[in-house]
């Protein structure tokens, strides 16, 4: 991993190659139109922060990217595989896309180590010893290796979220999705999780983060996407986005979250 720590060089990977493509994506919950004509391309190694008011569809959007939610119209192509009703494709995509949830969703009946080795052993068919070795590498990287034998319930929220990140990384994903990873944490634990995410970003991982941590967006993101009422209203580099927002809705949102 250290070899790829080329800080803030978004195009260190094959240029112009889109790992995520959303073309005219729509989604409805019953009658409610949650996603409206989403067009989004993400290059390999790009770090994207998605923000917006609650109910704007940002979580729904990233949950569509690994088919935890189904879109009803348009196309989503992940690393060359289109997400349709085809279960085989869905499983293929999910292997390559790691997801970190707001509420961690660790498996409470398994130890930290077992949480991390389960999918590599059963999905990637790795030998147990190899899976454990890799899990320890990632647990060390999120600085929680000494807790490997504990159960999730014995850890703090910040520790649990770091384990959840390690669990996803153990699948060697090509893309990492973060769905409000720090929103359920006590304030003093937010930093330890953000630090892990920043180091992950520096390693060149393709990341999409739904978050309200604007400091993280400013320092790490290549692009900030602002969503409101199911639409992508504006997307820009963090500098431009924060200093020179183009739409009124963005300005209103930024004034609400930055001046409190």
């Amino acid at each position: 991993m250290t070899a790829t720590q080329t800080t803030a060089q978004p195009h260190a990977y094959a240029e112009g190659e889109d790992i995520i493509q959303c073309i005219g994506v729509h989604k409805w919950y019953g009658e409610f139109h949650v996603l409206k004509d989403i067009n989004l391309s993400v290059r390999r190694g790009e770090r994207i922060v998605i923000c917006g008011p609650s109910g704007s569809g940002k979580s729904t959007l990233i949950r569509c990217l690994n088919r935890l939610e189904e879109h009803q119209k348009g196309r989503i192509v992940i690393d060359g595989i289109e997400l349709t009703g085809n279960l085989k494709n869905i499983e293929l995509v999910r292997r390559e896309v790691g997801m970190v949830f707001q509420h961690f969703n660790l498996f409470p009946h398994l130890t930290v180590l077992e949480n991390c080795t389960l999918a590599p052993i059963w999905v990637r068919k790795k030998p147990k010893a190899e899976a454990e070795e890799m899990a320890m590498t990632y647990l060390t990287r999120v600085q929680i290796a000494e807790q490997a034998k504990k159960y999730p319930g014995q850890l703090s929220g910040g520790q649990q979220q770091r384990v959840a990140i390690a669990r996803s990384l153990c699948m060697n994903p090509k893309i990492m999705l973060f769905d409000e990873p720090t929103s359920a944490l006590d304030p003093e634990m937010v930093k330890e999780v953000l630090d892990v995410m920043i180091s992950l970003a520096e390693s060149g991982m393709t990341m999409l983060c739904v978050t309200h941590e604007m400091g993280f967006a400013k320092s790490v993101a290549d692009r900030v996407i602002f969503m409101d009422r199911g639409e992508i209203v504006e997307q820009n580099t963090p500098d431009e986005f924060f200093s020179n927002p183009r739409s009124d809705r963005t300005r209103l949102f930024l004034s609400q979250i930055l001046n409190h």
Binding site: N66, L68, E91, R94, R95, V97, G98, M99, F101, H103, N105, L106, F107, P108, H109, L118, A119, W122, V123, Y151, G153, Q154, A164, R167, S168, M171
Partner: protein, 369 residues
Amino acid sequence: MTGDVHSTMSLPDERPPSSVVGPLAWIRANLFNTWFNGLLTILIVWLLFQMIPPFVSWAFIKAQGFGATPQECRAPGAGACWAFVGEKLRFILFGTYPYAEQWRPLAVIMLVILLLAASCDRRFWRPWFPLVWLVGLAVVGVLMWGGVFGLTYVENSYWGGLPLTIILSVIGLAVAFPVSILLALGRRSDMPAIRALSVAYIELIRGVPLISLLFMASVMFPLFLPTGVSIDKLLRAQIAFIMFAAAYMAEAIRGGLQAIPKGQYEAADGLGLSYWQKMGKIILPQAIAISIPPLVNTFISFFKDTSLVIIIGLYDLLGTAKASLTDPAWRGFYREAYLFIGLIYWAFCFFMSKYSQRLERDLNRSRRR
């Protein structure tokens, strides 16, 4: 201790006042805390006083020894006639199984109890353990039927008593358990046909009394079979039990499944686990742990419900006890008979209940906050 900050700066610990600790305080707090509870306490003590001494006198003090004759037992003022239980013990335990061969059902009882005891030990929870059970059940079959290894053949219409009760309930629950898991998963499946079938099965079976199911198994089943083909009566009862137990256990497990947060499903999906991996590794281990109390409730009630097979002419423990009362020489000692088999049933059920409490505690230890 002298340099300890706490011992020099904080107030010394004192004993609580005697009005809040000690036996008298306990009695006051638990038995006489309000005038109504005080009244209830007095009433209950009086009732116990009315009931326990006569029972002890009947069951032990005035009881006739195991060598007593029926005449001695019938003497005025005589207590319990344990001689009856002694006399009929082998019939109650083994029914009409040939007298000289009754060591075989005894061995079966001990073997099954041994297997159950081993199953309770989590060190044996290994993938190969079901194989041990299969071998054990094969041995049970050989011992009960015989016909090989020089054992005389005993038709299963001669089986009875405790082995029958144990075989019906252990095999019944062991087969019903995996079936119930499939039913519970089916009931929560996304596939409408599977869901509808599971719901229909569960609701149909739960809506019918076990007795009628047993009657159907014994009377109606044969009508549907071609002439000349007959399924053994015991097997029919066994199938009826499995069908019934599966429906009830499925509902217990469904309760557990519903208690698992959606995030667990999403995390498993997100990691790329297949449906069966997700269920087998993530959802079911948690759901079944939650379902232990209702599952054991079902286990216990089915263990006792095996006594209903008497209505289709099988003699389980209750049946043999009843039959032993029809001996003219020993007629009338029903209290002793029912007390005795009641104790056997209670011992099994109490063990199940205690074990489930321990298992629940063990499984929850890993999830303690």
